[in-house]
């Protein structure tokens, strides 16, 4: 006879995870919102602050820099997403598929390197690519031999380089997902279409890409969120200078890290609070539309 008693021992198994998730996810979300309602900063310290309600959010609304920073963030997210995370990811996956296995594999490994390289080292490489002659690689290779004037490319094309730096990391995510999706397309269809006279470009356009609709949507949604909130490499690359201050970096600078050590916890929390809300909304959308079918299968073994 099967007993249907539900188990309590599970809670012990979940306790460590539960505590950590509470301490570093739940609690911080609540704290972010609470602190954003105060004027806590280096000036007030941790004991002299007061509650200011929605004042910080109002400040964001009227702040002269808000619109510009929002705009820059949108440019950064959309360009990196379209041209690299999705665009390049798809392109590399497609191109690598058509090459012999080992060659394709070589390129896929190469494109994974930016992702696994420690951020500071990776940005150092890019800084040296953009640097002025005689140290900079791009200047030395492509400008000096032609007698062209050289400059540090970074300040002039700061946003472009931010997009490039993050793009080369981001492309690998899409590349892996699209690669496995392409490989799971039945090989019968793949070969028969060629036999029927389609060129590889036609096959890519009419057979492969339509099959990638769900992976494309998934990558787009998932990566939008991570681009919106990540700022590590931008910080190391330009520290927000030259017009590259994106929203998440603005929040970080305001509250935790700036040149003269003036920390505005309340204002910074309001800035990141907006991102937290966006993050929660996106995460729930992601959950609803990309739920993997098998998730909630009931376990077959009951407590005995």
């Amino acid at each position: 006879m099967r007993k249907h008693k539900k188990s309590n021992v599970a809670y012990y198994f979940l306790l460590p995870a539960g505590i950590l998730i509470f301490l570093f996810f739940f609690l911080p979300v609540i704290l972010t919102i609470l602190i954003s309602f105060t004027d806590m900063s280096s000036v007030t310290g941790f004991s002299n602050w007061s509650i200011v309600g929605l004042n910080n959010y109002f400040k964001i609304f009227v702040h002269p820099d808000s619109l510009h920073i929002f705009g820059q963030t949108m440019i950064y997210v959309s360009c990196t997403l379209i041209f690299f995370n999705v665009g390049m990811g798809l392109l590399i996956a497609l191109l690598a598929y058509h090459l012999p296995k080992r060659v394709g594999g070589f390129f896929r490994s190469l494109w994974l390197l930016p992702r696994i390289t420690p951020a500071v080292v990776y940005v150092l490489m890019w800084k040296m690519l953009a640097a002025d002659a005689p140290y900079g690689v791009l200047n030395e290779l492509f400008r000096v031999p032609f007698g062209l004037p050289t400059t540090n490319l970074l300040p002039e094309h700061a946003m472009l380089f931010c997009i490039l730096v993050n793009g080369y990391i981001g492309a690998s995510f899409g590349m892996i997902i699209f690669s496995s999706a392409i490989e799971s397309i039945s090989s019968d269809i793949m070969t028969s279409s060629l036999v029927d006279g389609a060129g590889i470009f036609d096959r890519a356009r009419y057979i492969i890409i339509p099959q990638l609709r769900w992976p494309l949507l998934f990558v787009t949604t998932y990566q939008t969120l991570s681009l919106l909130t990540s700022f590590e490499s931008i910080m190391v690359l330009t520290d927000g200078n030259f017009g590259t201050e994106v929203w998440s970096l603005w929040s970080y600078h305001k509250a935790l890290n700036n040149y003269y050590g003036n920390f505005q916890y309340g204002f910074g929390s309001a800035l990141s609070g907006l991102l937290v809300v966006v993050g929660i909304v996106f995460a729930i959308i992601y959950l609803k539309y990309f739920k993997f079918g098998e998730l909630v299968k009931e376990p077959l073994i009951d407590e005995i």
């Binding site: 390289t117 040296m128 140290y135 909130t229 909630v296």
Partner: protein, 293 residues
């Protein structure tokens, strides 16, 4: 047949060239790194000596190995990576097992929660986490292990951020183990925990391996968490923050070749891990396996 073959071969060559061109920044970047560590000065990709003549090959950039500073940072980095890995594997396995094998109230909700957390950008919570750590800094014994500006604190934060992925991954691996062995153990009177520890855990070794490697690499490369929650300076650095402070110094002349050497120093263990474990890593980077290997 011959006519069909030629265009395909030509296509492949074009594709190869296109891929190569697109990959140029990556190739140039790594070339620069490797060449620079062994040259006095690097002009572009060319190793030169101080006067600008070709050559300048030297090992002097690696002299930092003989000084204490980098080893303090390395030690911290190692502690961070190790404790984080052990922690992530332990906590994720326990939680993953329960979610996979035990019927309990709230199971569906916890699973959904894991997914939501997996997608949620935890980096937005840095400010609030600072306050959480500061709170622990106020508690006498705990402050050494969990407070602000301790390695313990950094470990905990990093660990927590890895959990959504880790739990999902381990749950997937447990899902792939057959029920029979477990059923037998439970019927024989084993407690859940013994079943877990003695029987199930060993059966998901590939999962443990994959998660361990990924966590260790993440911990070793960590930058933003140690940067935010460690105040820097000797004893409070990891390799990433050490390298970063050298890169942005206002008053000390920046020696790019030395930077390259330190960078390569940090990169080598990662590359070793990577080349021996590519399959595992590819799967994890795509967001977790869908159950089983």
């Amino acid at each position: 047949m011959k006519n069909k073959k030629q265009p395909i071969e030509l296509n492949k060559i074009i594709i190869f060239i296109v891929l190569l061109i697109l990959s140029i920044p990556i190739i140039l970047g790594y070339l620069w790194l490797i060449i620079s560590t062994f040259a006095e000065v690097t002009h572009g990709l060319l190793p030169v000596d101080r006067n600008g003549n070709f050559g300048g090959f030297t090992l002097e950039n690696w002299n930092f190995i003989f000084e204490k500073e980098v080893w303090l940072a390395t030690w911290n980095t190692l502690l961070l990576a190790l404790f984080m890995t052990v922690g992530v594997v332990a906590v994720s396995s326990l939680a993953g097992y329960a979610l996979s094998r035990i019927k309990f109230n709230g199971r569906k909700e916890f699973l959904s929660l894991t997914l939501v957390l997996h997608a949620f950008p935890s980096i937005t919570l840095l400010i609030a986490i600072y306050f959480v750590l500061k709170f622990f800094s106020g508690i006498p014994v705990l402050k050494l292990f969990m407070g602000y500006n301790t390695i313990g604190g950094v470990v905990l934060v990093s660990l927590a951020m890895q959990l959504p992925l880790g739990i999902w991954l381990m749950k997937g691996f447990f899902d792939g183990v057959s029920w029979d062995v477990e059923r037998a153990a439970l019927i024989d009177g084993c407690s859940r925990f013994r079943t877990f520890w003695n029987i199930m855990f060993p059966l998901v070794r590939p999962g443990i391996a994959a998660l361990s490697i990924f966590s260790f690499m993440t911990g070793w490369s960590s930058f933003i968490i140690p940067y935010t929650f460690l105040s820097g300076g000797a004893g409070h650095e990891v390799i990433s923050t050490y390298l970063n402070s050298m890169m942005s110094s206002d008053t000390i002349s920046i020696n790019y070749n030395l930077l390259a050497a330190v960078g390569l120093f940090q990169l080598i263990p990662i590359l070793i891990f990577y080349f021996f474990n590519q399959n595992y890593l590819m799967k994890i980077f795509s967001g977790g396996t869908h159950g089983g290997v």
